[in-house]
């Protein structure tokens, strides 16, 4: 264990430490509960600083620590910041919700911070067991947080569904790792790749499939998506702002690493086979996500299906991983994930504040006329909806544009056209929210809402970020290009 090793773990250590501190404070000084949001947001900021420190001193584009188990590189730094952004937004949005529901407790913040730590670890893992351990770490936090609102039945139901399916999937992942190990005598991705160069034995193929299935589950990609609408519907809404984005970010990178390992080592037919697999997952997600979202009347379920569709668009960027293009193909993925975090977390933040009864359905029609009652929050929600629909000048459009640009460049014009048509379907249900907000008369007055300044801040930050990055994307993109260049 060297000094470099410790520095590379700085963000995770800060997050874990902060979680422990908050938990202790919760036990010793429960009257401090209302300041936990501030504490946790500060620790997220500190973790961001830690990530910067860890990356700053890195010699070369990719730096391995802990004996090659963890990698610190431009993409992991960028995505760490994205995850920390999601965590920050979720924490800001949670304060009002937790107070309103009477469940303000330190465990929430602690679990969230540990979850972020687990996600950051998984981002950086280059070795399958490390990835698995961090997967378990953050998954357990996610299951607990999904059930956090003990008093409503639907939350427990959501959590049980997620937990059972997640536990199954974890065992699949472990079995997949075992199969890969059996075929290649290593669990390090860097070694697995070359070992599969001569062609992949059946066992390794199966192992890869199981791994892809596992991470596709976490990304809620069809056909491993069935848990997400129910879980999003039941879990506490500000937490869903985190759940719907952060695990997807980390899983997307892991998926990229897996595919990269195979492609780097593999023969042409292998690459083709995996291209077909990912393309199939992408097409299914785009179609199923958009079509089923059309039918939803509950806004959280609609956003869940929209998330499935968005992961379909994201997978388009992962269909062709050209070993010679290296990290260049990661740039659209990172931009898309950042865009997705901003717009989705923004949407859920506003939904958390505008719906007063978490035990009941969050019907879209309940938003009727709210655009005039709560103009600021509704404007933020409308901007996030338009961004999700891919309408310029938002960052959602820019992300989609990058993905489609790369798809066309890779020769996947047919997939790009399909993606574009699927987006069109999506526009309809995103517009429906705008319609209810501004074009329908108010039907019922919402009761028991708690609109606090933290939540408003989160919503405004998300909406402004969506617009600003949509109008001036270049600063972000050029920095990312620099950071991800090899």
């Amino acid at each position: 264990m060297t000094r470099a090793d410790l520095i590379s773990l700085l963000p995770e250590m800060i997050l874990c430490g902060a979680g422990i501190v908050i938990l202790l404070l919760d036990a010793i000084a429960p009257r401090l509960r209302r300041s936990f949001t501030l504490l946790s947001v500060l620790s997220v900021a500190a973790a961001a600083w830690g990530a910067f420190e860890a990356w700053r001193g890195v010699p070369g584009p990719s730096f391995l620590t802990w004996g090659g188990l963890l990698e610190t590189s431009g993409p992991t730094y960028a995505l760490s910041l994205v995850i920390l952004l999601a965590t920050g937004l979720c924490l800001l949005a949670s304060q009002g919700y937790l107070r309103r529901e009477g469940i303000l407790a330190g465990e929430y913040h602690a679990l969230l911070l540990w979850c972020a730590a687990g996600l950051l670890l998984m981002l950086r893992g280059t070795e399958l067991l490390t990835i698995f351990l961090s997967l378990e770490l953050f998954s357990f936090c996610l299951y607990s947080l999904a059930a956090f609102h003990r008093r409503i039945a639907i939350a427990s139901e959501a959590a049980i569904k997620y937990f059972l399916m997640g536990a199954f999937v974890s065992s699949f992942v472990l079995y997949g790792i075992a199969l890969l190990y059996g075929a290649t005598a290593s669990t390090r991705l860097a070694e697995i790749g070359p070992a599969l160069a001569q062609g992949i034995p059946v066992g390794a193929s199966l192992g890869m499939l199981l791994l892809v299935a596992g991470f596709a589950f976490k990304m809620s990609v069809v056909p491993f998506h069935a848990w997400s609408p129910d879980t999003y519907q039941g879990a506490p809404t500000p937490f869903v702002a985190f759940l719907s984005v952060a695990p997807k970010v980390a899983s997307a990178l892991v998926l990229y690493r897996l595919l990269d390992a195979v492609v780097r080592g593999g023969a042409a037919e292998t690459i083709e086979k995996w291209t077909v697999v990912i393309a199939a997952l992408a097409v299914l997600s785009m179609l199923v996500g958009n079509l089923l979202a059309l039918a939803q009347r509950d806004i959280k379920r609609m956003l869940a299906y929209s998330g499935i569709a968005h992961m379909g668009y994201l997978l388009l960027a992962l269909v062709v991983i050209d070993p010679n293009r290296d990290r260049g193909s990661l740039m659209p993925v990172i931009v898309y994930l950042l865009a997705y975090v901003l717009m989705n977390a923004g949407a859920f933040t506003v939904v958390a504040m505008l719906y007063g009864r978490p035990g009941e359905q969050h019907l879209i029609s309940d938003l009727a006329g709210q655009g005039y009652r709560y103009p600021l929050l509704s404007a933020c929600l409308a901007i996030c909806m338009l961004s999700l629909g891919g309408i310029p000048p938002t960052v959602g459009f820019f992300g989609k544009y990058l993905v489609f640009l790369n798809a066309v460049g890779d020769g996947l014009v047919g997939l790009a056209v399909l993606g574009v048509l699927a987006s069109l379907v999506g526009v309809f249900y995103y517009l429906r929210v705008v319609y209810y907000l501004y074009m329908k008369a108010e039907e019922r007055q919402p009761e028991g809402l708690l609109l606090d300044v933290w939540g408003r801040t989160a919503a405004v930050v998300a909406a402004l970020g969506t617009l600003a990055l949509g109008i001036w994307p270049w600063e972000l993109v050029s920095w990312l290009l620099e950071a991800t260049a090899r």
Binding site: Y372, I391, V420, L424, V427, Y435, W474
Partner: protein, 526 residues
């Protein structure tokens, strides 16, 4: 490189495009109530639109040549998204100038026309109109394909809000239909743009560019060109609208509030024809040749079918809406003739249609403000009660029909001459369209203002007040001016049209490329 502030304060295209958006920000803080606060909002929005008009006139007169021609006013390119060669590049030439002026000119008129018609939430209405102005101007002035696409999409949301919030009974259906139809086309155009950009990048040694002048240098083999042309043409055909993708128009026009209909017919539809003239035709000349017969047929069907359907309408607004399809069929026919005279006529007719149909929609709206109906059966004999209204209605209808000495005649005549010269028989069919236009417009006049005054509800109608006259008079002045002195309005565009035509013909005559090639930059390259 100029700073953003520097660009916004000087007499620039940037100021013209973005001033409405910046000026609409205070509107978001105005109270939404009625009475005096609302009056303040209306006055503020009107003043903003008039300032914008002043900026436009300033730009026009500083750049208008001594001989009446309008040069290429170039601004930029400024780096925006460098890595992808996307630049912020605006330019106005003789083709976009008349349309930009028309758009800016219509905004105060729309606001005057909507003064009483829009009853609630004026700040949002004013903001939507101003944002729409920015979108329209940006689309007309964009010289970079990506920028063009962005502004094309930006136009959708304010128009959706205008139709959806202040529209008629079936407004949501109409607004969503409008949005989805337009977006379907433009998304396919996006894929086309991306394909072109990749081809350019590969042929240009890995350097990206989305600039219009660079895209013009690309030569695609015909089989590829046809697909790209189809993607672009579909978008623009939906916007024009051409048969058979016109079905969104009657709903959108009828359900939109008066101001929305005027701006939709007045300028938004022209963006489709502008798109053809600026992008679809010059970028893909060989594919245009291939598609020309089909498009000519569709334009003719639009003229005749639009006119026939307008004839049988029992609702005034629907009649005017279908007349738009017919008129723009004329414009499309002129564009497809690939002839200088026809093109001049088409461009002029774009402006003419904006003026006359805009006036007609305003008049329908004024009648609706008073009687809350648009059905012919409710009217008749109004000339006795509202003679001023009758005068303006007859004037605008005759301009729309194409009576000599009014603007419509000049446009139609030029189009028909050019079409006859280059295409032949379509001109004969199109002339029937003129006859049909006379039939349905005179029918409208007959049923509303001539005849017996048998509906008692019409006896107490108040004639046009000062505000309504102020909205109509500028339109009528131009209808007359363009009709008697058209050369003033044709001269500015002549050079730009001639240049585009020359480029198009050069593109047609060039030997077909076996694969996509990039021609070198010529001295006259823009």
């Amino acid at each position: 490189m100029e700073t953003i502030l520097g660009l916004l304060l000087a007499n620039t295209l940037t100021r013209l495009v973005f001033f409405p958006t910046i000026a609409c920000l205070p509107l978001l803080f105005f109270p939404r109530g009625e009475d005096r606060a609302a009056k303040g909002v209306k006055v503020y929005t009107l003043i903003v639109s008039l300032i914008e008009l002043a900026f436009a006139l300033q730009l026009l007169f500083t750049n208008l040549g001594a001989d009446g021609s309008f040069p290429l006013v170039d601004e930029g390119p400024y780096t925006w998204i460098q890595g992808y060669g996307i630049r912020y590049h605006l330019a106005m030439d003789g083709i976009s100038m008349p349309l930009a002026m028309l758009g800016i000119f219509l905004v105060p008129i729309v606001l005057l026309g909507s003064w009483k018609g829009i009853e609630r939430n004026w700040p949002a209405f004013g903001a939507s109109m101003l944002l729409l102005t920015t979108g329209v101007l940006g689309t007309l002035l964009a010289w970079d394909l990506f920028l063009f696409y962005i502004f094309w999409e930006v136009m959708l949301v304010p128009m959706y809000l205008i139709i959806g919030i202040w529209g008629g009974e079936r407004r949501i259906y109409a607004a969503v239909k409008f949005f989805l139809f337009t977006m379907a086309g433009s998304l396919l155009m996006l894929v086309g743009i991306l394909w072109m950009a990749w081809t350019f990048q590969r042929l240009n040694g890995g350097v990206w560019s989305f600039a219009y002048s660079d895209m013009l240098r690309l030569d695609f083999p015909v089989h590829q060109q046809v697909w790209l042309f189809a993607a672009f043409a579909l978008t623009f055909a939906i916007k024009v609208p051409m048969f058979p993708v016109h079905t969104w128009l009657p709903d959108a026009h009828v359900e939109a509030p008066t101001g929305g209909s005027v701006i939709l017919a007045g300028i938004l539809l022209k963006l489709g024809t502008y798109g053809f003239l600026r992008f679809a035709l010059p970028l893909f000349p060989k594919a245009t040749e291939v598609a020309q017969p089909l498009l000519v047929w569709l334009a003719l069907i639009g003229i005749i079918y639009g006119a026939l359907v307008a004839w049988v309408q029992d609702d005034m607004k629907k009649l005017v809406a279908y007349s738009s399809i017919a008129h723009l069929g004329f414009v499309m026919l002129g564009l497809l003739a690939i002839d200088q005279v026809a093109w001049e006529g088409s461009l002029l007719q774009m402006v003419n249609h904006g003026l006359s149909t805009g006036a007609l929609f305003l008049l329908v709206g004024m009648l609706y403000d008073r009687r809350h109906t648009k059905k012919f059966s409710e009217f008749g004999g109004l000339a006795k009660v509202v003679p001023l209204f009758a005068f303006f209605l007859v004037f605008s209808s005759l301009a729309s029909v194409g009576l000599p000495a009014l603007n419509g005649f000049v446009g139609e005549f030029l189009i028909l001459s050019g079409v006859y010269r280059s295409l032949g028989w379509p001109a004969v069919v199109a002339t029937f369209g003129v006859v049909l236009a006379a039939i349905y417009l005179l029918k409208m006049i007959q049923l509303t203002i001539w005849g017996p005054l048998d509906n008692d509800a019409n006896r107490e109608l108040s004639d046009l007040n000062l505000r309504e006259i102020a909205a109509l008079v500028p339109l009528c002045v131009f209808m007359l001016w363009i009709g008697v002195a058209p050369e003033t309005f044709l001269k500015p565009s002549r050079e730009a049209l001639a240049r585009t035509l020359a480029e198009f013909n050069a593109g047609v005559e060039r030997p077909e490329a076996a694969q996509a090639t990039l021609r070198p930059i010529t001295e006259t390259g823009r």
